[in-house]
Symmetry: C3
Subunit: 444 residues, 3 copies
């Protein structure tokens, strides 16, 4: 990692008072790579409207695990800003997505999740099939043409058991290329056939980007005592920083990585990593990490959390396949379970973190896994992060806040921010936002 001296210059940087509002284009133009974003990105209603529009209504976003709607007729709804999307498995077992809005006078059609034969509006009983076609509407004049009133479709993809949607008319094409890179890694876990062991929605008192930034670094991982017993405690170091004192630990880590590679190769599963977080539209990162201690799962010191291994996995020491996707999701896929995370904005200063635990479809609660134990590490970690995000939302909303410098272990935060800033710049166009100098720090 190349470094640039961070000097007093930052201190003079643009503190904005609550009374003066800076146009978003100007905020984007003056964004300094290697430092946190200005206050307005976390507090301004105009920025938030732009986030909902440019990010959440135009990019591919993670919606649900396919395992949440296993049977034909199963549906769930996803709120994206003031949009609601019905994700439903149709009679051919295909996953489909529609805007959750009746074509008559606009009533919401379905709530939460459940099972339906057809989609019947609760207001005046207009009835749609699972492909969105209007089957029936009472008391219509003779000229009424039902084919004009189908439900409005939403783009949807099932990537090896992970369902993504895109609300845009034209969805970014980049998704399919990324899916092709990711799919072979996920295939052996057969997540689409998994069982949902638990799901939890955590109300965050912070802008969605603060929740994402929190996820994208382990600089704060000392605050996660439950989580870090499963990992090699090297997350604050680059290889060149390994001191003689850390050498034995580092060598242990290298051995575990080598062992993991052997195991995965034996199953014919790729172990190459990918890191394209900022430089493509569907920014992503895919990492295979050995675990410490027993090396099996997120239990204390790497202990196993479910007796049944996922899909085709045969060795319990199968590492942590960690996938990060821009803008709103990340995944930990282990030999015995997977944990699926997504962040949805609910206002400029609040969001919801959804966590879903997946296990083998035949794993029995109380027999193969203890639910509280399965959830414990991420319940604790999420709650610790919730407090940090809330404290940061308050701080960045303070007129005294000035963006500060990222440390040497916050590259992925920079990559997230850079991906985000790029999306907004593209949207506003080169005339609105002249480019700034590239970040000298980013290896991305």
């Amino acid at each position: 990692m190349e470094v640039v001296p961070v000097t007093a210059e930052l201190q003079e940087s643009s503190a904005t008072t609550t009374s003066e509002r800076v146009p978003v284009a100007e905020l984007l133009r003056r964004r300094r790579p290697g430092t946190s974003l200005e206050s307005a990105f976390y507090t301004d209603e105009d920025v938030h409207a732009l986030d909902l529009d440019v990010v959440f209504s135009r990019q591919w976003i993670f919606a649900a695990a396919a395992a949440e709607i296993p049977e034909a007729g199963d549906y769930l709804t996803v709120d994206v800003g003031s949009s609601s999307v019905v994700v439903v498995r149709d009679d051919d077992e295909q996953v489909r997505a529609f805007h959750n809005v009746c074509r008559h006078r606009g009533s919401r059609l379905l709530e939460d999740r459940g099972f339906v034969g057809n989609i019947v509006c609760p207001y005046h009983r207009w009835t749609y099939d699972l492909e969105g076609s209007l089957l029936h509407a009472e008391a219509q004049p003779p000229g009424f043409d039902k084919t004009c009133f189908s439900l409005r479709p939403v783009h949807v993809r099932d990537l090896a058991g992970l369902v993504f949607i895109c609300l845009a008319d034209e969805a970014p094409e980049d998704f399919d290329a990324v899916a092709e890179l990711v799919e072979p890694h996920l295939r052996p876990y057969r997540l689409g056939e998994a069982k949902v062991a638990a799901q939890h929605d955590l109300a965050e008192q912070g802008n969605w980007k603060l929740v994402m930034e929190n996820n994208r670094e382990c600089y704060h991982c000392d605050g996660h005592p439950e989580l870090i017993t499963a990992y090699f405690p090297l997350f604050a170091y680059d290889e060149e920083d390994i001191s003689p004192r850390l050498r034995p630990l580092y060598e242990r880590y290298q051995r575990a990585a080598a062992d993991l590679e052997v195991v995965r190769r034996a199953q014919g599963v790729p172990m190459v990593d990918h890191r394209q977080l900022a430089d493509r539209v569907v920014g992503f990162q895919l990492t295979h990490m050995p675990l410490d201690g027993e090396g099996r799962s997120f239990g204390a010191h790497g202990a196993s959390l479910s007796r049944r291994l996922l899909g085709d996995v045969q060795d319990p020491v199968f590492g942590d396949l960690s996938i990060h996707l821009q803008p709103n999701s990340w995944f930990h896929v282990l030999g015995d379970h997977a944990v699926v995370f997504s962040v949805m904005p609910t206002s400029v200063s609040t969001s919801v973190l959804r966590t879903t635990w997946l296990v083998h479809p035949d794993a029995e609660e109380g027999v193969d896994y203890d639910l509280a134990t399965l959830r414990a590490v991420w319940d604790a970690t999420n709650e610790q992060d919730r407090a940090l995000v809330a404290a940061t939302q308050k701080g960045v909303a303070d007129p005294a806040y000035v963006p500060g410098p990222y440390s040497m272990v916050e590259d992925d935060v920079e990559a997230f921010v850079s991906w985000y800033v790029t999306r907004l710049r593209e949207h506003l166009g080169p005339d609105a936002v002249p480019p700034t100098v590239p970040d000298a720090r980013s290896g991305d």
Copy 2:
């Protein structure tokens, strides 16, 4: 009813995203008769400010039943946006209305409802009589002229026991002509002398217009099992739609209507209907409807709900006198009781539905009527409608919502919307809003 083919054209119609705001004048100009309003009418703060100004601060609105303040000194307060109005019966038993604001430093004078001799400000004890004159203010300089600090009056009318107010400096003159048409129908019930058996305020999670639109059609009445047992199940039909299967039902209905006419004529009470919902300033509709089953009241299958008949009514089978008034009220007046409804906006996306049940002044609870039974049908119906309104508020706030076509039995919804759009157009003026083509569907 004339019909116009509804085609794919609608589908292309103006979906607005949250980020672009369309001026109200443009929204009014492009409003298409025969279809529901665009999203902004239910979600935009500018539209809401205009609604409060043009509709609720300039039109005659229903405030209360006169029976709520039977004695001199009785008062109640009515909130209209951020305005509060005191409606009080003065020492001459006249109903008067004042702005509920002290002329000193502005404190609210009275809360809720009660009884007063004079109106004394809770802050510094400025004291006003029931005609609004300032009687007393302490520690004033010699030149202080009390006559300059009377309470600011509000226009008020008592229409046969129904109290209407108008916050405008100049109230629409049309009210008196409508009152003259309506009064003879209401007179025999003597509502001004009735007893308030119950009153309920229901918090609606929807714009006030969605609550009104819900009231103005029975296209959704299959969702009201308690209510429809008292009505002839013909609400989704025009006469020409009556199929052979429905013929016996229709003939039963016609006989009941004819019988009702005989009874009402015997009491010298008019039975002509009126429908001027969209084409006058005080838009209204007045309908005499026979009830099904026992034909007496809103009990199951038309059963009676109070033993004492209202006012001068002599026959328990006296039909349902149903009155709809723009913008915010409707009334069901039956032989044995009346139910009075009004809608008040509390924000762009919330409102309050007030329901008041009136019975004969001597009707005794537990003896002549059972309170829970009296209320049951409208408590249930209001709650069913509350859920539909809430689902529709969410749906029309969705960027994917596009206005849809009214069915053949939603004429009164069109009339309400048309009345509303006309008021806003008049306010903004012909230069701001060029007229659109008239609605080919409306018989209004």
Copy 3:
């Protein structure tokens, strides 16, 4: 007090409807001395942003009693709009103040109050000493210069045990001159060494200025039965207004005042009053008032509330040293205890009133004072005022509200408003706000 006839002219004055927004400069220009402020000053978000900026972020505001942080390392936090300030006693026992914002990614550093050795950010453990210097930050590149990342300081003064802060870069210099006038009056009470017996935060449903205006007059004191038993009931009178009936009361008051002067002189303590509420930047008033009845404290009829007298006070009949400071505080300092009040805005229509009771450091609860009795009079009075402020916030937000005339005993309300309007005018500049005619009524 000179008087000006108040005529019908006021009645015509500028009622603004919710739909039209008047620029603040215009509101300031047309403000009429001798009358309450227009609605927008209590309801408009732009005015509120200006209040936070011009008043709360540029003036000296009362933050806390020094007795709340008696030891080195004791800290408390103060919220001012979206700002948070840490007030901490450093290792040299000096009171210091910093913005409560980490220089890394902006997290809040400390919550509420407590004790710390260093200030450690909860997020990534950046560590600052009590003088605000960054001591430690992990994983920084070689060029990282810690001296560039000190906590941002806030101006702070300890005036005889009362801590004031100023968030401006340049704090108004006037403070020191006022402190010099006030300090000799406070010195004998040694408030810095006092004990905090109680503190209460009361949520007010009103703009902060309504809470201040309520404090600045006793025209409403008939509504405070508990409070007024300790005072001579003369608060609604000027000397020339004393009627023959009031003469004996007035003479009793004069004797008590003379006695108080003797006692205070014997202790070498000044008894001169000051009134510079509107005509200096740090507007203040300082009054020595004898109490009625026993003359000792705020107990019923002047009864004592704590057996231990504050600081060097030797006579229990030591009067009420009442200090009013613009914009947000007032103080009652009595022989046996002091009560400290401050108002902080929390939104345009809400604020918090903080009340702190101080007693002698050795006074023991249950022995020297009964806590409930000590608090009773101000708990009751604050609650009575809370209801009045809430009723007034609703009233001034009503479109029917028009500013009304101050009575002859509301001079200090006029002085508060005048001070406030002057600050806003100075900020916007003479070009934006041409001056209006001076107030003929103000003796200020």
